[in-house]
């Protein structure tokens, strides 16, 4: 393996598995600052994970293997997703391939398992969150595929390495296709990470929960897995956004070097969005995603018009 490949895999594994909780931590930290509070330190997610790690789990009466294994499966899905998303365009393979549509499948599996665990505990609040999450996923997944299609059409492949290499540099930004795809993907990032205006990650009111709902009955290490999975989901979609849908350099070392800055900037942007926007009515969210989907579709058409 070459040096950039070793560096790339190292950043991918260490960043995805260990540094990902920093992302929601940073967003919370800056959000508090923007709102005039001192707020928690960016390391707060790590403290939470440590606290949960030393606590015992809860066995809910009458549940089955579905409840028991759901956090581990969700964790495994996100581990596989982290292994799948490269941080620079160097040929590496961690055994799960490099295909972006496989990533969509892994995220769907995590969603299925979380919703099934909500049915297992039969808690109305969990199910309410799960049903909203699944409703939003219908529109988010279509939009996600359309946004990815823009990048795939531009680069001629769904291989993430090819997509990162193909969208690098300034040339692709001369046509309106990629900006339109980036707009759509930006909204998908907000929806997938469960942030405002789609979901409020700070809520402690069960009635308003979406992504948090199915987590209600978990405690201890189970909950730690699920919270880590949420952080890892931030990592996966934000790395994709940074290395495909935002301007990034061609050099594989430069791609590694700019990544932390772009991720930090994106955390700032998400904090700003969370501060400026209130959570929208859950039934209106699909419309916003519909706008994003139309933008992505326009992107593919724009490329067709410009390319032929």
């Amino acid at each position: 393996m070459t040096a950039p490949a070793v560096a790339g895999v190292t950043v991918q594994v260490i960043g995805g598995l260990m540094l990902s909780p920093l992302l929601p931590g940073l967003i919370q930290h800056w959000k508090a600052r923007l709102q005039g509070r001192r707020g928690p330190s960016p390391l707060q997610p790590y403290r939470e994970l440590r606290r949960l790690w030393s606590k015992s789990t809860v066995d809910v009466a009458g549940t089955t293997v579905v409840y028991r294994f759901a956090p581990a499966v969700v964790g495994a899905c996100l581990v596989a997703a982290v292994g799948l998303v490269p941080v620079n365009a160097v040929r590496t393979n961690l055994g799960v391939g490099r295909d972006v549509i496989v990533l969509v499948g892994l995220l769907a599996l995590a969603r299925f398992v979380a919703a099934a665990s909500a049915w297992d505990v039969a808690n109305g609040f969990s199910l309410m969150g799960a049903s909203r999450d699944l409703t939003m996923a219908v529109f988010a997944e279509a939009t996600l595929l359309l946004a990815l299609a823009v990048a795939a059409v531009l680069t001629g492949t769904t291989n993430l390495l090819g997509m990162i290499a193909g969208t690098a540099g300034g040339g692709v930004w001369s046509s309106p296709a990629l900006p339109l795809g980036a707009l759509a993907f930006g909204l998908v990032v907000v929806a997938e990470t469960g942030r405002q205006p789609f979901d409020n990650p700070d809520t402690h009111l069960e009635l308003t929960m979406i992504h948090e709902g199915p987590l209600l009955e978990y405690a201890g290490r189970d909950l730690a897995y699920l919270q880590w999975a949420t952080a890892a989901r931030h990592w996966v979609v934000m790395v994709l956004a940074a290395q495909i849908f935002l301007p990034h350099p061609r050099g594989v070392w430069a791609q590694l070097a700019t990544l932390p800055f772009v991720l930090t900037l994106m955390c700032g942007a998400l904090a700003l969005v969370e501060t400026l926007l209130a959570k929208m009515r859950v039934l209106l969210a699909p419309r916003l995603l519909g706008v994003a989907a139309s933008a992505a579709l326009l992107g593919v058409i724009a490329r067709g018009v410009g390319g032929s």
């Binding site: 015992s56 789990t57 809860v58 066995d59 809910v60 009466a61 009458g62 579905v66 294994f69 581990a72 499966v73 964790g75 495994a76 899905c77 581990v79 055994g95 799960v96 391939g97 490099r98 295909d99 549509i101 496989v102 499948g105 769907a108 969603r111 299925f112 919703a115 099934a116 049915w119 297992d120 039969a122 808690n123 109305g124 609040f125 199910l127 049903s131 699944l134 996923a137 219908v138 997944e141 279509a142 595929l145 359309l146 795939a152 059409v153 001629g156 492949t157 769904t158 291989n159 069960e206 009955e217 405690a219 290490r221 897995y225 859950v282 039934l283 989907a293 579709l297 058409i301 067709g304």
Partner: protein, 648 residues
């Protein structure tokens, strides 16, 4: 060798059909049938693997001919794979009454009719197999349900729609035979009226049998009424044979079709996929829900077929072959998991006595074998890795993406929209089957009698276990099958024979790697979690006890989506609140999501037809005088025509 195997398999089923009729031997008869189906599957797999054709080639002559090539072999293998467990399952599912034995025998005959259709090499045998395949399930449904009013009405709708639409099949097949193009490519010219006529007639006729929207109205009515093994065969194989016929006509015989036809097929596929799963989501009876989801899956296959036609028209033959392989792979996969789910539904019905989703629950503990198989089937049909449904949806998505990449603006946009539709379909399928798993298997039992449910007999468990294993196996090594499937296209594409699917232009699908990572990490995390469990606690619902009356129902779980789609779906909802002196004494709730196509297309058409028939009936007054009058008028008209010179 292979031909002998086919005859052996078919013969064994035929012998089994006869033996099934005898009271003392009927279980043995079903076992013989199952063995025959297994032999058929082995022979089919051999043909798919080697590519050697057996028997006669296609002919436009009207003399009966039989033969098997790779495409037929694939469908025969699928038929055997579904029929063998279904027939073994029947030996405990049916009882030894005359009706039960007749249903068992007719199931075998139904299998033979479908095998005959797949082997037919001339127009007459083909159409004969086609009609038998439509009629036998109708007979089975009427027998099984003792011809009650619901079954009579549903069978009438089934036969009426499949025969009205089926005219298209006759027209297409006979036109092809007349032109000498039944089995011969290159006879019909590109863009000629004949090509368009045959293609449209075939899309209508075979689309009706496949159950694509808007020609699907019979499917959710007929499939749930049949006994579970027959439902499995109908959804698993029968509707696929319509896809087989479409592939024969569109891909093998008509040559390259105009791109607008490819776009039309894509639209039909996308509407079927999204429409089917949306209405499946709002069903509250398990078998009806499964029937609706068959429409969705047929839609996904039609999407693959449409992508194949478009890519071929753009001369991207490698991807066109992959698109066809995607449709065929999904055909095999759907046959396996839909048969699995229907058989599980039959087991649950036998054990609990109801398939009303809101009245089940907690069955995973009570029926662990059936329950676990059901979970695997549900996850496979929801298109989740690492099971088989994901592999075929992945390949279909890739094919659609390549349509979008083709560089042509209009077709590219169509491919892109179809891609989004398939993405939404996959997410809806996750929604739908999480709901089913939750309502049927998880949570506390929602009715008292569900609490006493027990696991079904061993052959029924074994049948679903075999199919569940097939879901896992096909999910692990889809690449081995794909490498054979791409060779089915007449322009023969190529794919390497790996376990996973690796195609240039994609990041490849290393199925085994994904499965190993998922399982290994799950095990590792479970071990890390340890066993430090605090005392068992009840579910915390703000201090409220979780009682059946408060349990979440299908209507509650799907409500957010129903509200979002309210403008399109127009759900009906009625709430009656009875108050007595200001105190609410009773609240009655009724809600449903009516099928738009039924309401907006079928109902008006049926009304107009009945009104027209009522008018036409006045001509038949029954009085002799009127008829004599008609005759005199006819003679006068003929005389006048002859006098003017019209008749020469």
């Amino acid at each position: 060798m292979s031909a002998a195997l086919y005859w052996l398999g078919g013969g064994a089923i035929a012998v089994g059909v006869v033996v099934t009729l005898f009271r003392a031997q009927w279980r043995r008869g079903l076992a013989v049938q199952a063995v025959g189906a297994t032999v058929l599957m082995v022979a089919g797999i051999a043909t798919v693997a080697t590519g050697h054709t057996v028997g006669a080639a296609f002919t436009s002559q009207l003399t009966p001919r039989w033969g098997v090539d790779r495409l037929s072999g694939l469908f025969l293998a699928t038929l055997g794979l579904v029929a063998a467990p279904a027939l073994a399952y029947s030996s405990r599912y049916l009882n030894d009454s005359l009706r039960g034995r007749l249903v068992g025998a007719l199931t075998g005959a139904f299998v033979l009719a479908m095998a005959g259709l797949a082997c037919a090499r001339d127009a007459i045998t083909f159409l004969g197999g086609w009609e038998l395949m439509s009629l036998l399930p109708a007979v089975i449904i009427l027998l099984h349900r003792n011809a009650d009013s619901e079954s009579r009405r549903s069978v009438f709708i089934y036969l009426a729609i499949t025969h009205l639409g089926g005219v298209g099949t006759w027209v297409a097949v006979l036109l092809l035979a007349h032109a000498g193009a039944f089995g011969t490519a290159g006879v019909i010219h590109y863009g000629s009226g004949l090509q368009i006529g045959v293609a449209v007639a075939a899309l209508i006729g075979m689309g009706t049998k496949a159950g694509v929207v808007p020609l699907h109205a019979w499917l959710p009515r007929a499939h749930p009424l049949a006994p579970a093994p027959v439902s499995a065969l109908m959804s698993g194989v029968m509707v696929k044979l319509a896809l087989y016929a479409m592939i024969r006509v569109f891909v093998d015989w008509l040559g390259v079709l105009p791109t607008w036809f490819g776009v039309l097929v894509l639209v039909v596929g996308a509407v079927s996929a999204v429409g089917g799963i949306t209405y499946a989501l709002f069903q509250h009876e398990l078998k009806r829900l499964l029937a609706m989801s068959s429409i969705e899956n047929i839609g996904i296959m039609v999407l693959g077929l449409g992508a194949c036609l478009l890519l071929r028209a753009h001369d991207e033959t490698a991807w066109a072959a992959l698109a066809l392989a995607a449709a065929l792979l999904h055909m095999v996969n759907h046959a396996v998991f839909k048969a699995l789910l229907f058989l599980c539904a039959g087991s649950i019905e036998q054990s609990v006595g109801s398939l009303e989703l809101n009245r089940l629950g907690g069955l995973l503990r009570r029926m662990p074998w059936t329950g676990l198989a059901f979970v695997i089937g549900a996850m496979a049909i929801a298109g989740l890795p690492p099971l088989n449904g994901f592999a075929s949806e992945w390949l279909t998505l890739q094919a659609l993406l390549h349509v979008a990449m083709s560089g042509h603006v209009g077709d590219g946009a169509a491919g892109d929209v179809a891609l989004a539709a398939l993405g939404a379909t996959a997410a809806l399928a996750v929604f739908c089957f999480v709901k089913v798993v939750g309502l049927v298997l998880l949570g506390p039992p929602r009715r008292a009698h569900v609490r006493d449910a027990v696991e079904v007999a061993a052959p029924m468990r074994a049948a679903v276990a075999v199919l569940a294993a097939a879901c896992v196996g096909l999910g692990l090594v889809p690449g081995l099958l794909v490498s054979r499937l791409v060779a089915i296209a007449p322009w023969s594409g190529q794919a390497p024979a790996h376990a996973g699917v690796s195609v240039p232009g994609t990041g490849s699908l290393p199925t085994v790697g994904i499965a190993v990572v998922l399982v290994a990490v799950t095990v590792a995390l479970t071990l890390l979690r340890g066993r430090r469990v605090a005392a068992t606690a009840p579910t915390w619902a703000s201090g409220q006890p979780i009682v059946p009356a408060l349990a979440w129902s299908t209507a509650g779980f799907t409500k957010p989506l129903r509200l979002v789609l309210e403008v399109v779906l127009r759900p009906r909802r009625e709430i009656d609140v009875h108050t007595d002196g200001g105190v609410v004494t009773e609240v009655a709730y009724a809600g449903e999501v009516p099928n738009l196509i039924d309401e907006r297309i079928y109902r008006p058409v049926a009304r107009w037809s009945l009104a027209g028939a009522a008018r036409a009936r006045r001509l038949q007054s029954g009085s002799l005088g009127t008829y004599v009058g008609y005759l005199i008028c006819l003679v006068l008209v003929v005389l006048i025509a002859a006098r003017i010179g019209w008749l020469g």
